[in-house]
Symmetry: C2
Subunit: 600 residues, 2 copies
């Protein structure tokens, strides 16, 4: 890999540290013992994690008089730390390692940082790379996971846990840092418990890095990678909005990453203001069927056609397909047949009559994609299922039907489909992700040195400037919940897991989306956050997920005036009822905008 | 539309003007009469453009003593100018209008700029929008064409030319500025000739704006939009390169915009260093068949597998499919049948036996796409044909065959396909495109005032700083060539056109690509130019197409050392012949890099 000019400039950027990490001697304070959020889960978690459950929270203390002791460099004993990337690559992942490296070396140059090449497989096989200044230099503030790579990322079976344990003992590791999302951090907790049980000296610390942004709980505000992913995607979505508005002839259906949870789709919608977004959580909570979703989009297309608008932008998370009740049931049947060893070619003939009817209704490209071998025990290959094309197909069919039956009187519906997955994931990380990841790297080191096992490195108050960030650690087990599975055959109580957090349908971001939904749908309130900036405007170290930019009052007022002008222009003596309807709808929009403005 | 923080900052950016435009009285000098590049075309062009052919070049003079006369503001008489977006939206298009507006108003606030809404259709229907300060403010340095929009963009038939002529006369336009690519500027030339003939007072000036970058000739260095498109795409391609290198399991097949010419694919390849790029011009000049191209990619996949690499990035222009001789023949047959009114459903049964054999060989999704109604008289709907999926499918089939037959011994081939079309087109324009477009807007105004009819606004020496840019105008007719069509039935001499310039296979950019091709293929010399920057590093007003960044010598030397280490590591007593082969191949790469470095 060669670095471009911008990459080189970025590689020289050194993130700021919060005050608690600027001292040579970092001070930790232990809080109360932690418990799980839902008391009814406590028993199950205690049973699974007897040695690591109930540990206290850790806070890093701010220096009482800042930098007073910075002259007296207290050297730590040399330690050996291993680090491994687990799960999907997220922008900023490299900076966790850079922060960890800088912390380790600044406290004792004889300490060693060992990277495992190729994710958990590298851990099991002990394929190592000693991380040196030279290596770190190339990857500072750079995207991807290519310093170490990754493969399959599970440390779950007895063999896997044993292999990991062997690696840590053979390499005499004092600590192991696991960089990943919900699954990897659940595995980290399990590993920590096993190590505690076997009195292995290696302490395990997890770092919240996942571009889905779904590792969120009372201790963790956001994850490394999510900010970059949303910013890059929001830019591309906005570009398509601009394009749609310029060409005025297509509907863009855009599928975004995000499985059970739709954080990415929600954030991108708030950033770029597309006409419509459908979240998995909405579909699941309202039990919307394929038919419902199709009708909802078609009604929106009709409403826009009445305003003579034949373009639009619609966002969907990739997990949408699984959140639709009847499709979920079908996918579960397919998954079950896969597990029983039935080959893809034979699955369709063994479906239940009901599932078979749904399956046969689908276009052939979707059938093929639904039958792909599953990605894990629980999920189909969502990234390979072109849900956006499927929905566009259903909408087109329905719009054609409405056109033919005469209930819809507009122009023919046209769509273009996009999947924004991989192209954002490899991006240079945003300043926020660089900073957050770098600080988390430092925090991990200090947790290990303090002997914390089964903890997650945490940084909170991220909305504020770095100098007000709060560092600490929280036991992984305190983040666990137990899913009570429903349905026949499933055991009534499952294993404790760190589960992905769903979009909170009562939370502020979703509430904001709802308030604007009507205007976004009709009025093309598109905005373009623009490409990631590293200097000047837009380069602030802020995460968009916590700081949606203030709305532009003047812009709204101008918009209102434009509406009023439009109504004035179209309402003329003898104008048709259609025109009057359009004018009325514009007036309703004006009232809506006014009421939003007055309430802010 | 609402502006984001970055958009607002951008809207306040005022591009610099070259010295020749800074004076209040711009001085023009006329050069020699122009002729077409190929003398054998002259007769045909003279015949078609008797009144506008052979006009002189126009140069804008630099002020002898700069800004001396800036105090004495010489006011121009008030004029009325119309402006229309033709062709696909290109980032920077709005800035042509902003530059034109500023030039008009600064010379006489009573002059009027009238925009036609909805492209050429708006021109015919006289759907106008008077462009005011307020409007211009919202669109300064913003992407898209949404200030005016566009529709179909042809001013060719007698009816269309008459409608345009009527509009210009009814609206009493002194000038009409047509913003577009090769087709629109050919139309502009025709309109200018018609106006000259009918002694219409409206002068016609064209502006080179096309994201394909294929309106290039002795007078025009590059087009507005190309720089932004390449930069945004190169970033996304680089993100995928990083992703490929991190996950090490997929080949990304990426289709880029670019029809007969592959400028975008070439530039993006030079910027981001993917493993392979296939240009239309290479395929056409070497007459590569589908089979050849498939074999070429498969051989590359095998070569990489020998180095234990199972990932890669391959770029294709959307026009590739048409440049393959046998597919071209098939598409021509389909086009012919469409023209004869045969419906898509019946076309396959009426193909010649040869074309039918090829058609039947194709997977069904491509069949469907090839049969879509054509975009124009000459081309299929290239943006709708998923060439990347088709090639990935052919490569997968062939790799599976090789695997089964035992000639290929590596892992299974996996691919993921992308089309980077629309998501880059709506981007905020790069600084270069903002500046270039803005200056072209000013130039257009001065050409109109000087009474130049049938000219293109030109700015040259773009590699240099804006203060050294040279402004002028060149007759559109001097850019024309006459295609001699081959094959039965086609007349031997066609009409004069401004044809898209192909990538010069003897030019420097292509030569550079060729020199690195071997290393790019095997060594993953990926680089990420990063997202568009507007301040700091990477924000220089330079177009990438003319200033590929200098290669990083130290980076290369480090790379070489890494190769040497690798060879040292793998070559051990008793190692297999395969390992020795891999080592040899690494050594060959080292020699190649060394020889490139020593020649630079």
């Amino acid at each position: 890999m060669e670095l471009s000019g911008l990459q080189k400039t970025r590689s020289q950027y050194l993130p700021e540290l919060p005050p608690c990490l600027q001292k040579s001697a970092v001070e930790l304070e232990y809080g109360d013992a932690t418990t799980v959020a839902d008391p009814s889960d406590a028993q199950s978690v205690t049973r699974s994690f007897p040695l690591t459950y109930g540990k206290p929270l850790v806070h890093f203390l701010n220096p009482s008089s800042p930098r007073r002791d910075s002259q007296v460099k207290k050297e730590h004993p040399a330690i050996r730390v291993g680090v491994v990337f687990c799960g999907r690559q997220s922008p900023g992942g490299h900076n966790v390692i850079c922060g960890l490296y800088d912390a380790i070396k600044s406290h004792n140059p004889k300490s060693t940082l060992i990277g495992f090449r190729g994710g958990s497989e590298g851990l099991f096989a002990q394929t190592t790379l000693e991380i040196t200044e030279d290596i770190v230099l190339t990857y500072r503030n750079q995207g991807g996971y290519d310093m170490l790579g990754r493969t399959k990322d599970q440390i779950r079976t007895k063999e896997q846990v044993n292999a990991a344990s062997n690696a840590c003992q053979t390499l005499k590791l004092d600590g192991l840092v696991i960089i990943g999302g919900v699954t990897s951090n659940t595995d980290a907790a399990q590993l920590a418990e096993t190590f505690a049980e076997s009195k292995c000296q290696t302490k395990v610390v997890g770092v919240p890095v996942t571009l889905y942004g779904d590792l969120k709980n009372q201790f963790v505000e956001t994850d490394v990678g999510f900010d970059t992913l949303c910013k890059v995607n929001a830019q591309l979505i906005s570009n398509l909005c601009t394009d749609a508005l310029s060409a005025e002839k297509y509907y863009y259906f855009i599928r975004l990453m995000g499985r059970q949870s739709s954080h990415v789709a929600l954030e991108c919608a708030l950033q770029s203001g597309p006409n419509m977004v459908i979240l998995c959580e909405e579909v699941a909570s309202s039990k919307l069927t394929l038919f419902d979703i199709t009708q909802r989009i078609c009604d929106a297309v009709e409403d826009r056609a009445k305003q003579d608008k034949y373009h639009g932008v619609i966002l969907l998370p990739e997990g949408l397909i699984e959140s639709i009740p009847e499709v979920y049931a079908l996918l579960q049947e397919i998954l079950g047949l896969h597990k029983r060893g039935v080959s893809a070619d034979n699955i369709s003939s063994q479906l239940s009559p009901w599932a078979s009817a749904l399956f046969e209704f689908m276009p052939s490209f979707i059938k093929k994609e639904l039958l792909l071998s599953p990605e894990s025990d629980e999920s189909a290959q969502l990234s390979q299922i072109e849900t956006e094309k499927f929905l566009a197909h259903l909408v087109e069919t329905e719009m054609n039907r409405r056109l033919e039956s005469g209930t819809y009187k507009g122009k023919k519906f046209n769509s273009i489909c996009h999947f924004f997955g991989y192209q954002a994931r490899g991006s240079l990380p945003s300043k926020f992700d660089c900073d957050y990841a770098y600080v988390l790297g430092h925090v991990s080191y200090h947790l290990l040195v303090a002997g914390c096992n089964g903890y997650m490195a945490t940084v909170t108050n991220l909305k504020d400037h770095v100098s007000n960030w709060r560092c600490g650690g929280a036991p992984l087990t305190a983040m666990m919940t137990v899913k009570r599975l429903h349905g026949p055959g499933a055991s009534s109580i499952g294993k404790p897991y760190i589960h992905p957090a769903a979009v909170d349908l009562k939370g502020k971001p979703y509430e904001m989306l709802l308030r604007y939904a009507g205007n976004l749908l009709i009025d093309d309130l598109y905005r373009n956050p623009g490409p990631l900036q590293f200097e000047g405007t837009g380069s602030e170290s802020k995460t968009i997920s916590l700081t949606v930019e203030d709305q532009d009052y003047m812009g709204r007022i101008k918009k209102l005036q434009a509406y009023l002008d439009k109504v004035k222009m179209i309402v003329k003596p003898g104008c048709s009822p259609e025109v009057l309807k359009a004018a009325l709808s514009s007036m309703v929009n004006i009232v809506n905008i006014l009421s939003i403005m007055s309430s802010m």
